[in-house]
């Protein structure tokens, strides 16, 4: 898997780089340390010897040189050279010529007596008051040897670190790809038919778990929506079936009959059933458009009081015919609202038609508009049988008509449409108990009106 490989290589490379940085630092520091300590030793040794000469003279210096050579380590180089270039004392086999000598600290290649090859040394040359030259210093071979050992072990450490980094990377990549693989496998098994799969959680609460939780929540929501959609499709199909079959049989009978009067009657029934179908489809479309919040561009200011008054007046004769007195309690002042006048008119007319259709027997239907600080409430209250608490949600669903006969003229879409229109306005449709009867209300928040425009 290339991603796994990339992660492994990246982790290995990072481990290598960080180790390289640490090792480089250590190397630099130890190197500097070694050089500095060598320098100190050389300077100190030279200073001790010149001090001895200054206080004790040549004899004391000779003894000191002997002591140094006897007790010091084999890297020590000491020589006393006469002004004409002869070595008077010491262990330096090849000394620099007197002519080229200058006082001070030097790096030079010297061979010590008893050693086969010359080595690089750090030397201090000092001219003594008698004219002789004192050569005092150390070979740096020791430091070089130390450095090579250090270098070798550092390279080894680096190789080990690189390998470990690579191994870490492989393990990490494997872990990551396993967790991602689980999620991907679940996503793979998900299809429209099977939404039951869920991402397994490790319980560690890490980011993979959080991702899994989010995916699971998304799947829950999708399956809920799918279920809703399935129910909707089922009920839509169910509700379309009866007008379609009535339409079909009427059309069929009209084609068969030879009696013009009967034919006209049957064709009239074809048209009526087709109209019913169109009405259902238009309403379903209107609901889904409102739910998708299209239509907000047509929002404008209007007076809810006038709208309610107009609709109450419009439905008053219909309620009257069905034996109910429709009464509108007109507020004293205008109730401005920023919204979709036509859609709110439709929502309110649905509530009115609902009240007239199911609540006329109660004899009284009240329409109220209540302006509030935060929300405007438009109420329709009847005194009919009402809807029991546990069935109110069902009543607001699409095709949620509560009588199972489905013979009534309404397709059970009215409350669903009113609710989706309320949602378009960031509001809600409420079904409440009117004790007795049903109280339906549209609650539209005011904040939206202020934010708009």
């Amino acid at each position: 898997m290339p991603t796994t490989l990339r992660i492994a290589l990246l982790a290995g490379l990072l481990a290598l780089l960080s180790n390289l940085a640490v090792i480089g630092f250590i190397y630099e520091r130890t190197h500097d340390e070694a050089v500095a300590s060598l320098h100190r030793q050389v300077v100190e040794q030279s200073k001790v010897l010149t001090d001895v000469y200054r206080t004790g003279g040549k004899k004391a210096l000779n003894e000191a040189i002997d002591d140094t050579l006897a007790y010091a380590d084999p890297q020590t180089a000491v020589a006393l050279i006469s002004s004409d270039g002869r070595e008077l004392k010491g262990n330096v086999a090849t000394a620099p010529s007197v002519q080229s000598m200058q006082e001070g600290y030097h790096s030079a290649v010297v061979r010590l007596r008893g050693q086969p090859s010359p080595h690089l040394g750090e030397l201090v040359l000092s001219r003594l008051s008698g004219g002789e030259w004192l050569v005092s210093g150390r070979l740096v071979g020791e430091g070089i040897a130390f450095r090579t050992t250090l270098e070798r072990s550092l390279i080894l450490a680096l190789a080990v670190a690189g390998l470990l980094g690579l191994l870490c990377g492989v393990i990490l990549a494997h872990y990551v790809s396993r967790r991602i693989g689980q999620i991907a496998a679940v996503a793979n098994r998900i299809s429209a038919r099977n939404l039951s799969q869920r991402v397994p959680l490790s319980g560690a609460g890490d980011s993979f778990d959080r991702l899994g939780l989010q995916i699971n929540a998304m799947l829950d929501r999708i399956s809920m929506l799918m279920e809703e959609l399935r129910l909707l499709t089922d009920s839509l199909a169910h509700d379309l079936r009866s007008p379609v079959s009535r339409l079909r049989s009427a059309a069929h009978a009209a084609a068969q009959t030879s009696d013009p009067g009967e034919q006209e009657e049957l064709l009239g029934s074809v048209v009526r059933n087709a109209d019913a179908l169109i009405r259902i489809l238009t309403t379903v479309l209107e609901i889904s458009r409102s739910e998708a919040l299209t239509g907000r561009n047509q929002f404008a200011w209007f007076d809810v009081r006038e709208l309610a008054a107009e609709l109450a007046e419009m439905y008053d004769p219909l309620a009257d015919e069905r034996g109910a007195a429709l009464k509108f309690e007109r507020p004293d002042r205008a109730v401005p609202l920023f919204g979709h006048r036509q859609l709110l008119a439709q929502a309110l007319s649905n509530l009115l038609e609902n009240a007239i259709r199911y609540g006329s027997k109660g004899g009284k239907i009240d329409v109220r508009v209540q302006p509030g600080e935060k929300r405007i409430r438009i109420e329709v209250a009847d005194r009919g049988p009402g809807i029991p608490l546990n069935r109110r949600e069902e009543a607001m669903k699409r095709f949620g008509r509560l009588d199972s006969s489905r013979s009534d003229e309404g397709a059970g879409l009215g409350l669903a449409l009113a609710q989706s229109i309320a949602h378009l306005h960031d509001g809600e449709l409420h079904l409440e108990d009117n004790g007795p009867g049903l109280l339906t209300s549209l609650e539209i928040p005011v904040h939206r009106q202020q934010s708009a425009r």
């Binding site: 048209v271 458009r289 419009m314 004769p317 979709h340 007319s349």
Partner: protein
Amino acid sequence: MGRKILLVEDDRETASYLAKGLTQEGHSVEQATNGQDGLFRATDGSFDLIILDRMLPVLDGLSVLRALRAAHIETPVLILSALASVGDRIEGLECGSDDYLVKPFSFAELLARVNALLRRRESRVDPADHRLTVGDLEIDPLSRSVKRAGKKLDLKPREYLLLEYFARNEGRVVTRTMLLEQVWDYHFDPGTNVIDVHVSRLRRKLDEGFEKPLLHTVRGAGYMLAA
């Protein structure tokens, strides 16, 4: 009474069905099958009415309408559309169309609206419609008073508006949807017979006690006020 109508409709079946029906009514119909063609023909301004499908190839109906209105061609336009939502209807009307009809529609509905639009054009030519009379019915739009055979009728404001609309379309079929749109200015489809109830109330006040009814029901289409 034959008029020149431009029909812009890309669906051949619908177009020939409408053209045939309108020709039978005595109108002369010219056809265009896409928006650009339709706009080109409409710009000569000689038509009495344009029937414009909303979804057209090349140039959609609303764009054609906007272009026409921008060019100050004020020929009445009736939009036909399969877009049935309230928002779509309002959008169509706001673009400058005179009427909006949702597909599928009955030919009777289309004809009623075509006649209403043509009639409106007539009355523009003749502004002297101070008093409206239909048979022995007399309407004064200024004082909003109505008399039948010299006897004053007591109508509610909405009943008056309903009657005035009927009177302005005297002898022509008026559908329920037209009443809802023109008299109430609502563009949704009520699920009840609320319009019929209003019309029958008006009819009771108008025709009760008179031998000859003025307000007639036209089966499968709507109503008509005629002497």
